[in-house]
Symmetry: C2
Subunit: 315 residues, 2 copies
């Protein structure tokens, strides 16, 4: 497989590294410091899946000069707020055999890809593993909660080719499964992140503290109820099917094991980085507006996070 990884930070480098090690032709596009280190010394991967040094990687800092049809698979691994720009940059590289996969958090990424290249070439992914850049050229895989799920949107997409990609990722050592309900899987992750991330970041507390008072419990309940109402209006089936069941799951099963964790959004505040709020609560309200579903709680949380970004000088 000829694979282009666009936005090769921690996550993209991990996937690219494993695929390259398994014999695929992988090109990373990332920041100059990281790309130069990988070029010079290879990509060093450490963490829960052992140590390896991957030398078979092509590196670039831009896609300019690449030709249409040069890749079978383009993985978009940029932050959600850079998806639109990423899609514009890779659109000329896509021909009838190219698949483009959003390997990202949040909602709205697949739509941006599909607008540019069509749903028949668009692949969705839900990755739940933790990975970070230790220093340029070196990454650590810290945690994996579930296999990455890949899937397509609608019958026009080549599910068989995506199954082959899943098999190739599995064979490369990346736990990956095919799902025929990628939207459901992505929305579930968004429900979790939308309920927890803005509150953890704005209140500066770990997830577990959000269960401590009825004030934050009520806010999380409203976030989830609005999200479920929006998904219903959009005919996206969710799992569990009802907001009440999801809230029970969230409070009783999902939060307790991660009670001591803080949201990455809080880290974004600390480091004065832009957050992915627009692909989480912000996307929920955006769809809500489009489909006539009121989302006051998600709207206010989105505004507060954006205002905090502004106060921190992120914009």
């Amino acid at each position: 497989m000829r694979v282009l990884i666009l936005g090769a930070g921690a996550m993209g480098s991990a996937v690219g590294g494993f695929l390259a090690d398994a014999g695929h032709e992988v090109t990373l596009v990332g920041r100059q410091s990281h790309m130069r280190a990988v070029e010079e010394r290879g990509l060093f991967i450490t963490g829960i899946w052992g140590e390896r040094l991957v030398r078979r990687l092509t590196t670039r800092t831009t896609v300019s000069g690449l030709k249409a049809g040069a890749f079978d698979l383009i993985l978009i691994t940029v932050k959600s707020y850079n998806t639109a720009e990423a899609v514009r940059s890779i659109a000329p590289l896509v021909d009838e055999n190219t698949l483009v996969c959003s390997y990202q958090n949040g909602l709205g990424n697949a739509e941006l890809i599909a607008e540019a290249v069509g749903w028949e070439r668009t692949v969705g992914a839900r990755a739940i593993f933790g990975v970070r850049v230790l220093e340029p050229g070196s990454i650590e895989i810290t945690v994996i909660a579930n296999p990455t799920a890949l899937g397509v949107y609608g019958p026009s997409a080549p599910a068989d080719r995506v199954r082959a990609i899943v098999a190739a990722m599995e064979a490369a050592g990346l736990p990956t499964v095919y799902t025929d309900e990628i939207a459901t899987v992505l929305w579930s992750k968004v429900a979790y992140n939308s309920a927890l991330n803005p509150l953890s970041a704005l209140l500066d507390v770990p997830y577990g503290a959000l269960l401590d008072t009825d004030h934050t419990r009520r806010i999380m309940i409203e976030v989830v109820e609005e999200l479920y109402a929006v998904a219903k209006a959009m005919a996206v089936p969710l799992r569990p099917a009802g907001a009440d069941e999801y809230i029970t799951l969230l409070f009783d099963e999902l939060i307790p094991p991660t009670a001591a964790h803080y949201a990455s959004m809080r880290e974004d505040f600390v480091h004065r980085r832009r957050t992915e709020i627009d692909a989480l609560n912000g996307a929920v309200c955006g769809y809500g507006e489009e489909y006539g579903v009121p989302c006051p709680t998600n709207t206010l949380l989105t505004r507060l996070v954006r205002a905090r970004e502004h106060a921190l000088g992120v914009w």
Copy 2:
């Protein structure tokens, strides 16, 4: 006039000090360290109204032992969240000639007083001056925006006696006016504080920064619109009469001169003190619930502030 000041912190001590200096019989009830210092060395007042040392003050740390009818006027100057307890403690001191005045911020205080002693003995006040305790026994008056306004609720209250109290306060050097629309005046101050305080505290920004982005402007607009809708349902006339006019006033006239100020609520967070959110946005939602007016924005801000208090270990 025989005056009891219940909750003689900075504000109560200032009023009590000026009244005592003008010859009234003033009893302060406050914290032991402050009361002991006043007892031993007198109350030292500094700041924009000059320096004075007031020795003619009686001090106490509790009202127990005081007799019904011992005071013509009881000023309640505790924080709003302590009003219920304060009212319980002074109720036995009230006879047919006693007036009880809420010299406090926020909504709901007069109702608590009236429940205990009747509207015919209840006086409202809106104070807009800044005062702080420098050390026990010593306070500084930092800023005065407007004369304090005193007024009564409804025709059963003795407006003439309240006018006499206003005259006594004026004569003592405390800029004070009588108002026949105390509810209107108090609600206007609450509109200002509800729009600015939670945002300044939660986002850790000065008031001026709240005008910088549409995110915070929109939140302030919603806070004010909900407050105006609630006041309308309660038949409390506001000035200006419409939410739109108030918002224009707020953005164009009220915020700019105080652009560099942070809310006292943010100071409460810094010092891990309980805030007065329940008498501001919290009171608005409380009335909203009672009168069937939805207040999602005020509700969420109230919840966030309470959750932050909880996270800071205030409760």
